[in-house]
Symmetry: C2
Subunit: 121 residues, 2 copies
């Protein structure tokens, strides 16, 4: 069974997490059968390895990491692969697939443009 990690940057301000929690809750409501967890690069908990362990405890046998980042820079190109490898080793070598960042997806670019049109009307 797939487990989904929604991977976000994290920040000192606890309010930073609210949109990510809403996204997680929205996904969980739509897919109650599929384990989903947030993980953060820095400042917030849980970190990636812990989130993956949590998902495996809920029955996940493979992991998909969805980067909730507007774009890819060194955090996704350099930091995330190292975290994924460490998290795999800490979790019995589980298979982990990492998807492109949210802002890289054509559908999201289109949705964002439409949102900008709506809010600047």
């Amino acid at each position: 069974m797939k487990g989904i990690v929604l991977f976000a940057h994290g920040a000192r301000d606890p309010e930073w997490a609210l949109p990510f929690q809403r996204i997680r809750d929205g996904y969980a409501l739509a897919h109650p059968e599929r384990p989903v967890a947030l993980a953060y690069l820095e400042w917030m908990q849980p970190e990636l390895a812990q989130a993956i362990g949590d998902l495996m405890g809920r029955g996940a046998t493979q992991i998909v990491v969805v980067p909730l980042f507007m774009a890819q820079g060194n955090h996704l190109k350099r930091d995330l692969p190292l975290l994924v490898e460490a998290a795999r080793q800490a979790n019995g070598g589980v298979r982990v697939q990492v998807l492109p960042a949210l802002g890289e997806a054509n559908d999201m670019v289109k949705a964002i443009v439409e949102w900008i049109e709506a809010v600047t009307r």
Copy 2:
């Protein structure tokens, strides 16, 4: 006439800018009559004051800042208001409206959940 600033974080990696450039280009294509410009908090150019000056040079008489951030933390709560005030003073006191972050918008949360559903199917 409204001018639109798409305000992003910025990063050392030039590829970071690509999604924001696509979003700007998508908006400009849909609204050729309305000046739009990117601005960055750090690492990338132009900064906010310069982008606002550019928009005013293209006929904008009021400015709407759209934060292309996943969530709001200290960058938007603390840094952006200071940048806006400095940018206003550098540009003749022009009226600047700052919208909530992308991730705060219900429509965007919904679109992101749908995108996650599609890419993790």
